[in-house]
């Protein structure tokens, strides 16, 4: 076992509006049958990582429910396995996690006890497939202290919600702007890091001593002139879901054949908690095109270019276009939905019409 994993899944994000009221971002539903955290958990499992710590804090109930058994990702092991690190009151600390570095620093005990040489740190809301062994190989080949997985974004992308990096020709990170309002650079950090466990421990001990709390601000940015911090560029699909437009676009990406092939059919496949719902049922009147339909869904109306999560119900005479229906949503007869996201468990009364526009997706949360 070369590495252990730390998944940062404690965050809230106000830019997901009503959708994050009930759940951590890592628990956001994605692509009809997954939760965001399934992607990183599957990546870790498929990379041969046998021990994973999931750091949770904000609205963790729904996430904990999803992680009720570690066996879905093959982490149900006698040796290692999955650890949920919730904030806890100790004689030394009665703080919540005050930042990403603080969350790791408060769990230094966990790092002391392990024996893996490397740590892979990753957020719980990235949608991508990756073999972290490639990053670790790159890390040792470049004699790096910290390797940051980066992505070159297409021109004209708004990168103001990311960390933006500048590298020299060797790939070493020379400058880092965190969420810049404007910048000329297009290379962003995906928030995935590889670091030796012993170095992480000493950096975290320093954070405790100095009362530093944020991994980017207080570790990466402070250390960048002293430590060899390398950028590993990933070329395959990657997105995150931290805003409504990004969340909506990430889901709609799964209607593209190449994205489906990458995630659904190419080995290794993304794993998730198994539900036990009957297959989707298409009743007379159903007319479903260019859509993803999950288990347990019952369809009686028209659905186009939409993502329907498990156990949703679509009544007679409905017209659902360019929308996302969360699990257990109930759409009564003759409802029209365009460019909407319907929160789970919401019951839309007969004949209701809700229309968003592509640039302003409408959220129906109650």
């Amino acid at each position: 076992m070369k590495a252990l994993g730390i998944i940062l899944a404690g965050g809230n994000n106000k830019r997901l509006k009503e959708l994050s009221r009930r759940r951590a971002i890592a628990a956001m539903p994605v692509a009809g049958s997954f939760r965001a955290i399934d992607f990183v958990l599957s990546n870790m499992s498929h990379s041969g990582i046998g021990t994973v710590a999931v750091i949770t804090q904000y609205s963790s109930r729904s996430l904990n429910e999803h992680l009720n058994s570690s066996k879905w990702w093959d982490f149900g092991r006698k040796q290692g396995g999955m650890y949920l690190l919730n904030p806890t009151i100790t004689p030394e600390s009665n703080d919540w996690y005050r930042g990403t570095a603080d969350a790791i620093a408060q769990n230094l005990d966990f790092l002391y006890k392990r024996h893996e040489p490397y740590v892979v740190i990753a957020p719980g809301d990235g949608i991508y497939k990756m073999d972290y062994n490639d990053v670790m190989d790159f890390h040792s080949a470049h004699d790096a202290d910290i390797t940051v997985v980066c992505k070159d974004m297409p021109a004209n992308t708004d990168v103001s919600r990311f960390g933006v990096v500048r590298t020299d020709e060797s790939g070493r990170i020379t400058d880092w702007e965190e969420k810049p309002i404007a910048t000329d650079y297009r290379t962003i950090s995906t928030g995935i890091y590889v670091i030796r466990r012993r170095l992480l421990i000493s950096l975290m001990e320093q954070c405790v001593e100095m009362d530093w709390t944020d991994f980017v601000r207080d570790v990466i940015m402070r250390q960048k002139n002293v430590k060899n911090i390398m950028a590993y560029r990933m070329n395959s699909y990657w997105t995150n879901i931290s805003t409504i437009p990004a969340y909506y676009a990430a889901n709609m990406d799964f209607l593209k054949p190449e994205v489906r092939r990458h995630f659904f059919y190419d080995d290794p496949q993304v794993q998730t908690k198994v539900d036990d719902y009957a297959p989707a049922k298409y009743n007379p009147g159903a007319n479903v095109t260019n859509s993803l339909i999950a288990n347990g869904v019952i369809l009686n109306g028209e659905v186009d270019s939409s993502i329907i999560f498990r156990k949703a119900y679509v009544g007679n005479g409905c017209r659902i276009h360019n929308s996302i229906l969360f699990a257990d949503s109930y759409i009564s007869d003759n409802v029209v939905l365009e460019n909407c996201i319907v929160e789970s468990g919401v019951n839309i009364p007969e004949g209701a019409e809700y229309r968003g526009i592509p640039d302003n997706i409408r959220i129906i949360a109650e």
């Binding site: 692509a31 009809g32 049958s33 997954f34 066996k71 209607l255 489906r260 995630f263 659904f264 496949q269 993304v270 794993q271 998730t272 198994v274 036990d276 719902y277 009957a278 297959p279 989707a280 049922k281 298409y282 009743n283 007379p284 009147g285 159903a286 007319n287 479903v288 095109t289 260019n290 859509s291 993803l292 339909i293 999950a294 288990n295 347990g296 019952i298 659905v303 993502i307 329907i308």
Partner: protein, 424 residues
């Protein structure tokens, strides 16, 4: 000492030869049903939902698919420290090669397994029926009546009674006589092949009858219990129960699932049916797709038209294809512009572009009229059908077929192609 009140023994070793080529590669309990399920999921889920947490599954005929499906029982929460699911294949012993010669003989050969759990009652189940039943309720009935043996039965139409073992009872539901497939039935209460025995009695019966060739519950054990003047009762069941032992009953039971409100409802939260699946993805309906009166499972990609059909997991249906009144099982790949009506296509079969299946007129089967006697075209698992051929009614295909297997591009009504060896 470990003690379980009741453990279940599930008989899953039979071939189910009347399902024809569907059971060429797998035992009948492993045949898929309702898209994502396999027949054995129903009794296994019933066990778990009834609080029976120790199940021995007796396998014999082609067990690979069944073993792979059951594994260590995770989907049914039967991966337990004490109890859970155990697969019980026949085994070699001193002076005996050991295949199971009959239903009761199979249990006899596993007496040691039952003894490990020291049960008061043993529930005997078969792996070939579709139903939801609370065995706990049946046990409560068994105890209330002070029965030695309780046998589940259900009323069937009188004209069908001669296909079953029927029980004749007094007004207290105590069984007074038993007829096995009678020409002139005296009752329409058909035995469902579900028994609860007091363990001591079952043990004595199996040991006493151990040398009976082909020892069978209906033929030997039940008559023995009668002779011993034991108290046999029947537990009358009135819910949905389907025998899927023939191709047409199998097809019919699948098709009932697509009814607007199916009699057998899989969409209720209560009494879920569990199954093993590696498919976690949703299905994709393409811009050219059309599906009505159908159930479609995860991972499938539909570009054609599906009407009144059951489509399994990870199925691909190409553009321009029209699938009607058919059952398509897991992993089947159907090319473009295929026309299909009243077909059963088993797991992982590949069908080429432009092929037509199920057009013609009924003709008696040249292969086996006992098995193939409906309009259905039946295609075995892992078969290959080339593009551009036409396949008639009441036909059977197994194996990787080539264009040269179809004279003039046609498999006539009632015809068959059975090829051993190479698979698709």
């Amino acid at each position: 000492m470990v003690k379980k009140k009741m453990i279940a023994m599930l008989l899953a070793g039979g071939q189910g030869s009347r399902l024809g080529v569907l059971t060429a590669d797998m035992a009948k309990p492993a045949v898929s049903f309702g898209g994502k399920y396999r027949i054995i999921d129903f009794p296994l889920s019933n066990c778990v939902n009834s609080g029976v947490d120790t199940v021995g599954v007796l396998t014999q005929y082609r067990p690979l698919q069944l073993n792979a499906h059951i594994g260590i029982g995770i989907p049914w929460d039967l991966d337990k420290r004490v109890g859970g699911v155990s697969i019980l294949p026949p085994y070699e012993k001193t002076g005996d090669t050991g295949f199971y010669s009959g239903t009761a003989n199979a249990i006899y050969q596993n007496l040691e397994f039952i003894e490990r759990y020291n049960p008061d009652y043993v529930l005997i189940l078969s792996g070939d029926h579709i139903y939801k039943m609370d065995y706990e309720e049946m046990l409560a009935y068994h105890q209330r009546m002070g029965a030695d043996v309780t046998l589940a039965s259900m009323p069937v139409p009188w004209e069908e009674a001669s296909r079953f073992g029927v029980v004749i009872t007094d007004e207290d539901k105590r069984i007074t006589a038993f007829q096995e497939k009678p020409k002139e039935p005296k009752s329409n209460l058909a035995s469902m092949g579900i028994y609860i025995f007091n363990w001591k009695l079952l043990h004595d019966a199996l040991v006493t009858l151990k040398d009976v060739p082909g020892c069978d519950f209906g033929k030997h054990v039940i008559p023995y219990c009668f002779e011993q003047n034991k108290k046999l009762y029947t537990y009358e069941f009135t819910g949905y129960w389907k025998d899927v032992g023939t191709l047409s009953s199998y097809w019919q039971a699948n098709m009932e699932l697509v009814d607007l409100v199916p009699e057998f409802n899989l969409y209720e939260e209560f009494w879920k049916i569990y199954t093993e699946t590696n498919t976690m993805t949703p299905e994709y309906m393409a811009p050219t797709a059309k599906a009505e009166r159908a159930i479609i499972c995860g991972g499938s990609e539909i570009f054609g038209t599906v009407s009144h059909s059951v489509i399994g997991s990870n199925v691909q249906i190409g553009e321009g294809s029209v699938i009607e009144d058919s059952i398509i099982m897991e992993g089947v790949r159907i090319g473009k512009n295929v026309r299909m009506k009243k077909a059963i296509v088993a797991d992982n079969t590949v069908i080429g572009d432009g092929t037509v299946i199920g057009e013609g007129e009924y003709a008696p089967s040249h292969l086996d009229t006992r098995v193939y006697n409906s309009e259905l075209a039946t295609i075995a698992a892992n078969s290959r059908i080339p593009g551009g051929v036409s396949i008639g009614l009441n036909t059977a295909i197994s194996g990787a077929t080539e264009e040269s297997d179809y004279p003039n591009g046609r498999l006539e009504d009632g015809g068959y192609i059975i090829k051993a060896g190479e698979k698709a």
